[in-house]
């Protein structure tokens, strides 16, 4: 544990990587802090030395700068060491390098296992969107029952037509969503066969260009480097279908798969 001299010391931790070397990665950390490795038997923590205080600000621009800087260190670490275990923002360990090394020793097996499980792979995000109006129009055209209902509406009196229209709208809505969901389910199987791990996302954020579309499915996947091209082909197939669009981002450090929560 931190001794007298170490009680005002802390280390901001960016990631854990596979390396034997104690080295300086330069002044690339948050606020231009020097980032360096603290190794132990082939694994190392990437840290900068700081006060035992959390990074805190009300200034959005500064918060943004910190986030980007943290992300940049992780990208650089990935380039240098291969897949790393990325840490969340603001994980600060009280103590000096020796405390970090003790922590590495205590959790050695677990960290090594986690690093091995992400080795040779990276995280990717897949979002599948569809154009609701376009799909509705095509379902309406191709479905005999709905077509008949539509024809009937044109012949009926105003009052009856109103209720039939309601019925049509409801049926159409459920057909469209079941068609979209069937497609998502079919492709989910294909995607699953190509990735090491997959998590369905609750995050409903979509970029500006996609706002007029409906988000059908959103996944984070851990993908081996040699399967990315194949995955891209499957997604291309969806993207080429009329009314569908895919957003495929990455490679990211395995943020969604750095499951080492139970570390001591």
């Amino acid at each position: 544990m931190a001794d007298e001299a170490g009680q005002f010391e802390a280390r901001y931790i960016y990631s854990v990587a596979r390396t034997d070397l104690k080295e300086n990665l330069g002044d690339i950390g948050i606020g231009k802090e020097t980032v360096y490795t603290i190794p132990h038997r082939g694994i190392a923590a990437l840290v900068h030395s700081c006060w035992p205080l959390a990074y805190n600000t009300k200034d959005k621009a500064l918060a943004e700068e910190w986030i980007i800087e943290h992300s940049y260190v992780i990208d650089q670490a990935t380039k240098r060491f291969g897949a790393v275990l990325p840490f969340s923002f603001d994980v600060i360990i009280k103590g000096d390098d020796a405390v970090i090394e003790q922590w590495l020793i205590r959790n050695y097996k677990h960290l090594l296992g986690a690093l091995e499980s992400v080795e040779g792979s990276a995280e990717y995000t897949i979002q599948i969107y569809y154009d609701h109006d376009d799909l509705s129009a095509r379902v309406l055209e191709s479905d005999a029952e709905l077509n008949a209902l539509k024809g009937q509406i044109e012949k009926e009196s105003k009052g009856k037509a109103y209720f039939l229209q309601k019925k049509l709208d409801q049926k159409l809505k459920s057909r469209v969503s079941s068609q979209a969901e069937n497609l998502a389910a079919k492709y989910l199987l294909k995607i699953k066969s190509l990735v090491k791990e997959l998590k369905a996302e609750g995050n409903k954020w979509m970029p500006e260009d996609y706002k007029r579309l409906k988000l059908l499915a959103s996944y984070s996947c851990l993908v081996s480097d040699d399967r990315v091209a194949e995955l891209g082909e499957i997604l291309e197939e969806i993207d080429r279908m009329q009314g569908f669009k895919v957003r495929f981002t990455g490679p990211w450090a395995p943020f969604s798969f750095a499951s080492i929560q139970e570390l001591a």
């Binding site: 923002f89 603001d90 994980v91 954020w205 970029p207 990455g250």
Partner: protein
């Protein structure tokens, strides 16, 4: 279909604040037993969702891209300076009795035109965009186009192979038409 990192800050924020490894231990900084991981930042970024709704994030994304661009090339750009066009080219240097074409990368930014030498990492010539003029001159070699460049930062003889793109980019950046000899 190729995966892309389109520079969206939202993707990065989501990962750094909501994912990634954390430690649930006495080791880390906490207040009343609650780890401070990301909590402070979340407060600063609390209205992010609202900002997203109204497209304010566009600016953020732009600045993320600029920041990454600055880091990855080590180009000496100022904070709000953005690279608009870059191309390989030359500048004519007369150093004592030696005159020669020195190669580098010409960058047109939102502020200036400059020639960057990757190694040793130096700006060999720069000129602010205001009052910047270039004029085509007779080239010493048929394959290249040469210009006389006149600016408040000095004049120079420069050469670039994708000449039309360069002229167009510079005209866009300065808002001035290039004078082409008849």
């Amino acid at each position: 279909m190729q995966p892309e990192r389109d520079g969206s800050l939202v993707d990065i924020l989501d990962r750094l604040l909501n994912r990634g490894a954390v430690l649930n231990a006495d080791l880390i900084i906490s207040v009343a037993g609650i780890p401070l991981i990301g909590l402070n930042l979340r407060a600063a970024l609390a209205s992010m969702e609202t900002m997203l709704e109204y497209g304010v994030m566009e600016d953020w994304d732009k600045s993320t891209r600029e920041w990454y661009a600055r880091q990855q090339t080590n180009l000496p750009l100022s904070k709000d300076e953005e690279i608009l066009f870059k191309t390989f080219g030359y500048i004519w240097r007369e150093e004592g009795i030696i005159s020669r074409w020195v190669p580098g990368v010409w960058n047109i930014t939102s502020r200036r035109l400059f020639l960057w030498l990757r190694s040793p990492g130096e700006v060999l010539f720069e000129a602010p965009l205001e009052n910047l003029r270039i004029e085509r001159v007779n080239a010493s070699r048929a394959a290249r186009v040469e210009w006389e460049l006149i600016s408040s930062g000095g004049s120079a003889k420069i050469s670039i192979s994708d000449s039309d793109e360069f002229e167009e980019a510079l005209a866009r950046a300065t808002g001035v038409q290039t004078a082409v000899p008849v």
